[in-house]
């Protein structure tokens, strides 16, 4: 497994990362509104990709039902705000606890009954679908008709209630990304990180060494779930509307893991790279095709075909992810560390 942590990246890598951060910090002052909204999507994908990465890349558990945690965070905070006026930052705590509990429940079921690999993935899908259908029929929070947060004056920035301009949300997403990246780096180089590495590489050997695999896997699951829920909160307050069919969908779960898988599972920068490849790819295709569609040409599906083919190509040619490949090309990786 190729792991890169910030402290160990040679000067070149660190420079690249800082350049990217600087570019992003300056972006709202330079780019048009549309590009800013695309960047926000990129940062959202990067963030949830990173939180998913904790469960998959660090603990080795494939979850295709991460939309469950996302949705729990989103609905919990939205409900508390709309019905009781409670700040979404507090709502994040509630959402995080809910999501972590759900994650703990699923994780415990999985481990207790020794479900792994694809079976575990299917279990996660089942729970997410469960949630989707239940929320669809939960009239108190809108049901399938959707739950809406009242949009106020967009120009007034109210950080405590997460009401404000897209620029405010951009910086929030950027901040979340930096925070989760820092957290992952710290965790990876800590004792916990090495236990995770051991469990991921050979669980039986790890157990033989006396490592409590159950405990550390559970930590990964709960952490991943809670952090994903935080992303859900931010998303809910940016979008101002929630529908179970799109919030808890399998499609959203796939969207969350696609970036990381393309970029490189288990790596710190994989989710970011993947997000920066995928989202602009989709948007560029939309923009390119738009003038043709204005002229009445029916081109439904063309964008998705290209998108799918690009993903297939990436998987075929760089199955370990784009970031490890890029890292080699840019001579950013540490010498001597071999990719598994």
């Amino acid at each position: 497994m190729l792991r890169l942590s910030l402290a160990e990246i040679p000067p070149r890598g660190r420079l690249l990362l800082l350049l990217l951060l600087a570019a992003l910090l300056a972006a709202p002052f330079v780019v048009p509104h549309y590009v800013l909204s695309v960047l926000i999507i990129v940062l959202y994908v990067a963030y949830v990709g990173q939180t998913w990465n904790i469960m998959m890349g660090f603990a080795g558990l494939l979850s295709i039902g991460h939309s469950l945690y996302f949705g729990l965070g989103a609905y919990a905070s939205a409900t508390l705000f709309v019905k009781y006026g409670i700040s979404p930052w507090l709502g994040m705590i509630v959402g995080g606890v809910l999501a972590a509990s759900a994650g703990a429940f699923i994780g415990a079921l999985g481990f207790r009954f020794r479900i792994s690999g694809v079976y575990f993935a299917l279990l996660t899908i089942a729970f997410a679908e469960f949630a989707r259908i239940l929320f669809d029929n939960f009239a108190w929070i809108g049901g399938s008709a959707g739950y809406f947060i009242r949009v106020g004056d967009r120009d007034a920035v109210d950080l405590w209630h997460l009401r404000g301009t897209p620029v405010m949300f951009f910086y929030l997403w950027l901040g979340f990304n930096v925070a989760v990246l820092a957290l992952c780096r710290v965790l990876l180089t800590s004792r916990l990180g090495y236990f995770w590495l051991a469990i991921r590489e050979d669980q039986q050997a790890a157990e033989a060494l006396g490592i409590d695999t159950f405990r550390y896997k559970m930590i990964a699951v709960m952490l991943s779930a809670a952090l994903t829920a935080f992303g859900g909160v931010l998303y809910a307050f940016y979008n101002n509307n929630l529908f179970p069919a799109t919030t808890f969908s399998v499609a959203r779960s796939i969207e969350m893991l696609l970036g990381t898988t393309i970029g490189g599972v288990g790596t710190l920068l994989g989710p970011i790279v993947g997000a920066f490849i995928l989202t602009p790819l989709g948007e560029t295709l939309t923009v390119l095709l738009a003038p043709l569609q204005d002229r009445g040409l029916r081109l439904d599906g063309v964008k998705q075909i290209f998108y799918g083919l690009c993903v297939v190509a990436i998987v075929v040619f760089q199955r370990r992810g784009v970031w490890p490949y890029l890292a080699r090309k840019l001579k950013v990786e540490r010498g001597g560390e071999s990719a598994r």
Binding site: Y34, G143, R150, V151, N239, N240
Partner: protein
């Protein structure tokens, strides 16, 4: 000193006066000075609502030319696609606004329109809702959102009145009705309105059961079996075309022949429904707002649509989109400027006489209340006959005779 001005002779005055009079009666192209208004028209043109979205857009295809001939300013239409998805509706709105759209029109589906309205309000760009029934959209205190379409309570109120007319005209009154409704924003809005209003309207029937079905469902046999088991005489449906097709087929296969299907929404009069089912799709009565074929502008619209899409019946989806563009053009003409604030004020002051509009309307004209809503829009009873939707109620506007109770399935095939 030379005389610079000739004293005004009678001839000059007369010439000047007649020139002024001539200018008054000539067709006013005075606003050719106004730049074309960029209008973003957003509907679900792909995804599961694609068919109806494309039919909505027909209104936008033919409207600009006709409106221009009548002296309204130029409209430059740019299209957005919601992909039948509320999240994408928001993105489509954002993209069009970033591309310079000065006003938005859309979006047919209540869920998609709600997110679009949020976007419009946030970006401070006016939204002219052509079609969407969920009441809460105009209850948010938005300043930039206007709607020329009835809300669910109005739709239900109108529908209940039409039901009474149906029973009176046919002499048959059911005591039990079962409601099959789509579990989405619009379906739930109608259900809520029915719950509130059926008792107040003193209806002769009781809704014995409300059966909600999953919008994504591909198999409605269980729902129809449940409905059949209630022994209701009449079905009250809230669907879109795909569900309507499934429900009808199931009713045929399960050999259930209620007195009729009354629909309080789209779908059952849609082209795709009529084409898919042929004779089996006849006799459904939809209580919907409809266009008035006697009005001048409506006739111009029908002619243009017939030329461009020959042989295709026109329904309210196209008509209301056209009317929305009429309102937009009218507001722009009065505002004289495409600035959002100017457009919004002009929209608030809208007062289009009933004779100049397209739809049946409230009879007094198109004007908005404080919440940006047009009120009092009545429902017509439209029945599919010979594969075409025909107005059968109110009797004063009827194009064909009401058939109720409807012939059984076997009798038609």
């Amino acid at each position: 000193m030379a005389k610079l001005h000739r004293p005004l002779s009678r001839r000059v005055v007369l010439a000047g006066a007649s020139a002024a009079v001539a200018a008054g009666i000539m067709p006013r192209r005075a606003h050719a000075a106004l730049a074309p208004l960029k209008v973003g028209v957003i509907h679900p043109t792909s995804g599961f609502m694609a068919m109806i979205g494309q039919i909505c857009n027909r209104g936008a295809v033919v409207a600009p030319a006709i409106l221009k001939d009548l002296g309204y300013p130029d409209l430059e239409i740019v299209y957005g696609d919601t992909e039948s998805n509320p999240d994408i509706a928001r993105a489509a709105g954002e993209r069009l606004i970033d591309g310079g759209a000065q006003i938005l029109v859309g979006a047919f589906d209540s869920g998609q329109t709600t997110t679009l309205a949020q976007t419009a309000e946030q970006r401070k760009i006016p939204l002219m809702i052509d079609i969407a029934g969920a009441p809460q959209i105009t209850e948010q205190g938005y300043q930039y959102v206007f709607r020329n379409f009835p809300r669910a309570p109005d739709i239900v109120g109108g529908a209940l009145n039409v039901h009474k007319l149906v029973f009176a005209a046919s002499g048959k009154t059911p005591s039990k009705v079962v409601c099959l409704y789509r579990n989405d924003t619009y379906g739930n809005a109608i259900k809520g309105a029915l719950d509130a209003m059926v008792p107040k309207f003193d209806m002769p029937y009781k809704i014995v059961e409300f059966i909600a079905y999953d919008p994504q469902s591909r198999d409605l046999s269980v729902e129809v079996a449940k409905a059949k088991a209630t022994d209701a005489e009449v079905v009250l449906a809230v669907s879109v075309a795909n569900d309507a097709i499934l429900l009808t087929r199931e009713m045929v296969k399960q050999r259930w022949e209620p007195w009729g299907v009354l629909s309080a929404g789209p779908g059952w009069y849609d082209q795709s429904y009529r084409k898919a089912l042929g004779k089996l799709g006849n006799y459904v009565i939809s209580t919907v707002p409809w266009h008035d074929p006697r009005k001048k502008l409506t006739q111009l619209m029908l002619q243009a649509l017939d030329k461009k899409y020959p042989g295709e019946a026109v329904d309210s989806s196209t008509a209301y989109v056209f009317e929305a563009l009429l309102i937009v053009a009218d507001a722009y003409k009065r505002a004289g400027s495409a600035a959002p604030q100017a457009l919004v004020e002009a929209l608030r002051a809208t007062n289009i006489p009933a004779s100049d509009s397209i739809t049946i309307g409230n009879g007094k004209g198109i004007f908005f209340d404080a919440k940006g809503q047009v009120n009092g829009i009545p429902m017509a009873g439209v029945q599919n006959q010979d594969g075409l939707p025909k107005v059968v109620l109110p009797l004063a506007s009827a194009e064909a005779n009401l058939v109720f109770p409807v012939p059984g399935w076997q009798a038609r095939v």
